[in-house]
Assembly symmetry: C2
Homo-oligomer: 444 residues x 2
């Protein structure tokens, strides 16, 4: 438990330091002492890379306040990516020792040579993507706002996108850029690579390097890579069509756009919902069907060892294949010629059951505190907080402070509970009598 416990306390410490910094007068635009509740909410939202906001980040906070928020996002996102990857490495080793059949597995992971180089490698990956993002976004923002303001906007949105934080300096998020091809490619690019996880990126990089240098060595993608890539692509496509179809006739969102912009906006929404939290349409004006679909995608979320939240694509895929197996009357679950170990199935159940139960309890609590609010808005807000998405129908700022405190807890639990679960899983995993080669896969 020690690693995860350390990380949980680390997140908590970071939130408290952030809160204190954001209370100080230098952080606000008008130079006054900040409301402690606003500071706590913003700091939690930044550290947990959620993106829910009770004030308008772009106008309420000074440059220094915004910089503080950006640091909190960067540390929170990096910390999460680092920890989940490190825990997965530990998990892999544990399995390697126990499984005689899984020689294949260690072969699948040439990138996990040791934890020493892990920090350096993750920092390098992060910087590579963020700096690329800044340069590309500068083209759009410098043109519109001049070089210095444009640079700041590019830095902020690039870091926010890579960390799936969803914080924006524009009060309407990215609604103004719904027709910009560059913004609709760069932001999703950062969000998707950030959310797809370090392991997948590094595997893709190794594969690229092998092909370019024409090495003779056999290269196999890991199960994690195959599951994450196929599930992510599937969800992105399904999401784009779902939003296109449900919002097609809604005058407040897609109806008055050209066909191309309709697709671009639906694509952006499909990408941002799991779990970036930017928006290029007004979430509060979406149709009921569109909102409900959004909730489903928020719940699923991004992929393990990335910066995003939710139950994760791998968990979703395992449960989908469990259902398929049960319908076919089989008693094993196979993913790409690998049997899914029963421990992973239990963990997938725990992630979903735990998240769903937490969402239900918190929704009930906020409904009791705010009896006059519409149910769908509360439910949406709670799922958004737990899955660290940050989309909102617009009720966050007007919530009673008790409800805001509950949301703060929800954001924190939504971020760290998975860590505790993985740690519990690593701590006591026992050797089992295997009858088929199994391969390891991170869920949650």
């Amino acid at each position: 438990m020690t690693i995860a416990r350390t990380v949980c306390l680390g997140f908590l410490a970071l939130i408290l330091i952030g809160t204190i910094l954001l209370i100080l007068p230098f952080a606000t635009n008008d130079g006054s002492w900040n409301n402690p509740m606003v500071a706590l909410f913003t700091s939690t939202s930044a550290v947990c890379v959620t993106g829910l906001a009770v004030v308008d980040t772009g106008t309420y906070f000074s440059f220094w306040g915004q910089l503080t928020i950006l640091f909190l996002i960067q540390l929170g996102g990096f910390g999460y990516m680092m920890t989940t990857t490190f825990l997965m490495l530990l998990l892999g080793r544990k399995f390697d020792l126990k499984q005689k059949f899984a020689i294949k597995e260690s072969f699948d992971r040439p990138f996990l040579q040791g934890s020493n180089s892990l920090v350096v490698s993750i920092v390098a990956t992060t910087l590579f993507f963020e700096i690329t993002g800044i340069f590309l976004l500068l083209k759009v923002f410098a043109q519109e706002y001049g070089l210095s303001r444009g640079l700041w906007l590019s830095i902020f949105h690039s870091i926010s996108a890579w960390n799936n934080a969803g914080f924006s300096l524009f009060s309407d998020s990215l609604v103004a850029y719904k027709s910009s091809w560059l913004v609709n490619l760069v932001i999703p690019g950062l969000v998707i690579f950030g959310g797809i996880g370090y392991q997948v990126i590094i595997e893709f990089y190794l594969w690229l390097r092998k092909n370019i240098s024409r090495q003779k060595r056999v290269f196999c993608f890991s199960l994690n890579f195959k599951v994450v890539i196929s599930t992510t692509i599937l969800l992105l496509i399904v999401g784009t069509f779902a939003f296109f179809l449900t919002e097609f006739n809604n005058p407040a969102t897609l109806r008055n756009l050209s066909l191309q912009d309709k697709f671009l906006t639906a694509w952006f929404q499909s990408m941002t919902t799991r779990t970036a939290g930017f928006n290029s349409i007004d979430i509060g004006k979406m149709t009921t069907a569109g909102l409900f679909i959004t909730m489903g995608f928020m719940f699923i979320g991004a992929s393990p060892s990335g910066t995003g939240g939710g139950i994760k694509t791998t968990t979703f895929r395992i449960l989908l294949n469990c259902t398929k197996s049960a319908l076919q009357g089989k008693d094993d679950v196979v993913l790409y010629q690998r049997e899914v170990p029963s421990t992973l199935i239990l963990k997938a159940i725990a992630v979903v059951f735990g998240t769903a139960a937490s969402i239900v309890v918190v929704t009930i609590l906020i409904s009791l505190v705010e009896p006059n609010l519409v149910f769908i808005q509360i439910f949406f807000e709670v799922i958004s907080a737990f899955a660290t998405v940050g989309l909102s129908t617009g009720i966050t700022a007007s919530l009673h402070s008790t409800a805001q405190l509950i949301l703060i807890c929800a954001m924190y639990i939504g971020r760290v509970s998975i860590l505790l679960l993985i740690a519990a899983f690593i701590g006591n995993v026992k050797p089992t009598s295997l009858h088929y080669p199994e391969e390891n896969l991170l869920v949650g």
Copy 2:
């Protein structure tokens, strides 16, 4: 697949026969030909023992129409109870042949001597409970409505309660009897015994008989019995307190009642939500929190081999213990000193995943058909239809006919999908290398 397929077609045939009968002029109170849509909806709702209604059963239908509905309820409820029990028997035999360690199991089930006596035994059990219910309810209804009307009311409500159908001849269901101790004990008694399943009842009966005749033979309750009884009691208690607390201050439901009536009404609501569908408070006026809790309990539902719906108490319990195991870092799931086989875990996942996915899809479809309806009402209605509960916030009758058709499909799928799943499961179950005695348990 043949058994389940036969049953699915049987249900469909029964619905069609019921629809034709309810279209005929003899069925309606005013003697005119009935609207086919109303007839189809009512017939489906009766055969699937759901209880959702687009018209007021007590005033819209003639005595003969009501009698037809009662027959449909009785055949639908009996057919479901019979089929699930029979399939579980088959499942038990399959496991007996395959599991050398599970000698205990066949010993646990002295009541499954053969399928010949099964029909007789289920009919006898049904008649025993329904007739007892009729006599007890007669005390209340005869006093108020005279003997002949009172007898009809008693027969109708007793059969409706035993089958967890939720149809009532009173337009406000049982709101008028919220303070009546007799109604608040007899109806819940019928509902709970009907929903707890034939297997549990017969085991309880055998245990009683053994204790009365003082046999020396060892008697062990089955895993199914222990899980169903403990989970049902737990859910009933949690539900009573949840409704008591969330509705305590709601002037439209509990606030103006005495403390005793508050508890009585909360208890009734806790019992009826999984999955009887009667109500003694106005569902449409419940708080948001109360409605959301109701949805959760509706989703869980009753127990296998009974007349109720939902994902079933056993499924819920298995997933709860999977979560517990994962949190403890264990790789097996144990319930009362029995390991839960991995096939059952897969099936539990399939039941929940399938039900949840169906609910999401149907909710989206109805949201698209009825864009102006409030989300919580649609969501509530759809869960109620899938779990064959029949509670409604009051929108059923005013729904567009397309939405009503979708609900009809939802009621039917909600009832028969579990059968198909069990059948698929029985059809292909393969021997596995066991390392621990496992015991069989029905989910869904």
